[in-house]
Amino acid sequence: MKKQILWISILTAAASTAATAETINAAGATFPAPIYQKWFEEFHKAHADIQINYQPIGSGGGIRQITEGTVDFGASDMPMTDEQMSKVSKFKVLHFPTVLGGIVPTYNVPGVPSINFSGATLAGIYLGSIKKWNDPALVKDNPGAKLPNEDITVVHRSDGSGTSFVFSDYLAKVSPEWKTKVGVNTSVNWPVGLGGKGNEGVSGLVKQTPFSIGYVELIYAVQNKMEYGAMKNKAGNFVKADFNTVSDAAAGAAKDMPADFRVSITDAPGKNAYPIASFTWLLIPDKIDNATKKKSITDFLQWMMTAGQGDAQALSYAPLPKPVVVKEQKQLALIK
């Protein structure tokens, strides 16, 4: 009895403090989760009556939940396919790009600071054909580096992931074997490796497992002080992901951005373009019945496209190119 009274009083206390806030539920990609969580926190500070609760459950989750209607909007690094969009019956899904990010090959090889990877090598590692760190292919790209004679522990995603989508999209472009054997999707039949849940799970596993390699969004490697390698881009240069190289990858796409913003920028041309870069999108319904929610969401999107972009660089993302923002603001009007 006493226990119940205690909880009821705690509940009412909690409820009264939060009573006036409107909760908007969103779920999806872990790739942009750090900047989304920062944005939603900042937005909540400026608008105390709006709480946007974002759950990073993976892009597959974002797509699924917006299709089922269990969240108010979703987030994904994989643009929805036509087939997926047709399954959403109540409204049309609008893709709003938010930031640009890079996926880096992060690894835990003590004693070796920076490793270069070519696309074919990375595909070989993830296909299981390249098994050791001192494989000739790796040695060729890293002259002078003391690569150890250890087995490579491969780490991939165990959940439905847009990061996996972008990564497999890139591997399919650089490796015909990957394209036919495994394919491109948020969830694939990985030939080898351990599965981690979310970008956090993969970085966690790599951090704790010596001689392992994983693919994560740049911010996860940076925040966890993990080493990450340079990738050989289409122009033949080894580049590490950062603000400039990721922005360069989007430079070409910005000019020819399709009207629905669904585009892949992996293996982009450009001297300094980072090859495993991607936009990430918020999946917004074009019809929102609740007027307060509609205003909150459109307010947030407007803020995100303008003031919010200032947060990108500090968290190792690249802001949207200006032509893209202009086009997006026009899409805002489509939300009824």
């Binding site: 597959g60 351990l194 599965g195």
Partner: protein, 324 residues
């Protein structure tokens, strides 16, 4: 003195109905029956919902689902065999570790330990059963996995590496680590129930064996334990049923790989871990219904085991087992 008529006047039909309900007992009977029946209805509803929501997957794959090894979301091809394999292997190995330890401890607590020590130790072991699965997982990630990766698995590879069961790199996560954490989680069931079964063996059995010149161990192992074997086996079944359905601790240390591997050091998957990792994000109806069908398979497995365990335990503690 006039006698008071004892019989009540004949009643009309509506009156009988009203009186039926005015009787508090009948209302209480009805109300409690409804609540009790709701348990039955909910369970039936559970099976029904599992059946319905796994429809697309059952229609597409049929029984092939249980034997197919492929789990390919790109091609929409799903098969349950890797997960059934992982579930069975981890539970089986967990029992190989925990049954000897558990039965041994139960023997000590029932035969050798003074009653107070026995009771307090049993109390402590039963508290272990209350520890939530996620806490076991938390401990496993940060304590067991590094130990497995740095000491145990290399040692096993060094000594038994010629066996296919111990091939491959020492990840630290995988079937073996999951089995170890499962074995810890199953101790309490085996110890507690086996101890009860052993305590239920009549004193005369022990005394007869000792009178015939057996050592205490011989008396225990050759007379008492066989007498209680149904109860002990029942406890093993219950432990197995628990291990099969365990989700959190396993998913945190099994490595999440959707293949079938003979090596115990390799990562794998169990049914419960698969569902937990993928349910919120299954894109596509077939994928989601395949996960629900996995849940149905797991449900069926645990149902059969629980029934077997109940029967065995009833047989022991209800009647008494081996007749001389």
């Amino acid at each position: 003195m006039a006698t008071v008529a004892v019989t009540a006047p004949p009643q009309s039909q509506p009156r009988k109905l009203v009186n039926f309900f005015r009787d508090g007992d009948q209302i209480a009977h009805l109300v409690t029956f409804l609540f009790a029946a709701s348990v039955f209805l909910v369970t039936v509803f559970l099976v029904y919902e599992l059946w319905i929501h796994s429809g697309p997957s059952r229609a597409k794959f049929g029984f092939h689902f249980l034997t197919s090894k492929t789990w390919d979301p790109v091609a929409d091809e799903f098969g349950a065999l890797p997960f059934i394999y992982g579930t069975v292997v981890t539970s089986f190995i967990a029992l190989i570790i925990s049954v000897p330890l558990g039965v041994g401890a139960a023997i000590f607590l029932s035969e050798l330990a003074p009653p107070r020590l026995s009771n307090s130790c049993t109390f402590l072991v039963e508290l272990l059963a209350a520890v939530p699965s996620v806490i076991f997982g938390l401990l496993a990630i940060f304590t067991l996995v590094p130990i497995m990766r740095q000491y145990v698995e290399p040692f096993l590879k060094h000594t038994l590496g010629f066996l296919p069961q111990f091939e491959g790199p020492a990840y630290g996560v995988g079937y073996l680590t999951a089995s170890m954490i499962l074995s810890v989680m199953t101790f309490p069931f085996i110890i507690s129930i086996s101890r009860e079964a052993l305590l239920a063996v009549p004193r005369e059995q022990r005394e007869a064996a000792l009178a015939l010149g057996a050592t205490q161990w011989e008396s225990t192992w050759q007379v008492v334990v066989p007498y209680a074997r149904l109860g002990i086996i029942g406890s093993i079944f219950l432990a197995l049923a628990r291990a099969l359905g365990e989700t959190m601790a396993v998913t945190m240390v099994i490595g999440n790989d959707t293949g079938i591997h003979t090596s115990l050091l390799s990562p794998g998957y169990t049914i419960a871990a698969m569902i937990a990792n993928n349910f919120t994000e299954a894109t596509g109806d077939v994928f989601l219904s395949a996960l629900v069908e996995l849940g149905l398979v797991l449900f069926a497995l645990t149902m059969v085991l629980n029934a077997a365990a109940q029967l065995l335990i009833i047989a022991t503690t209800g009647k008494g087992s081996k007749q001389p």
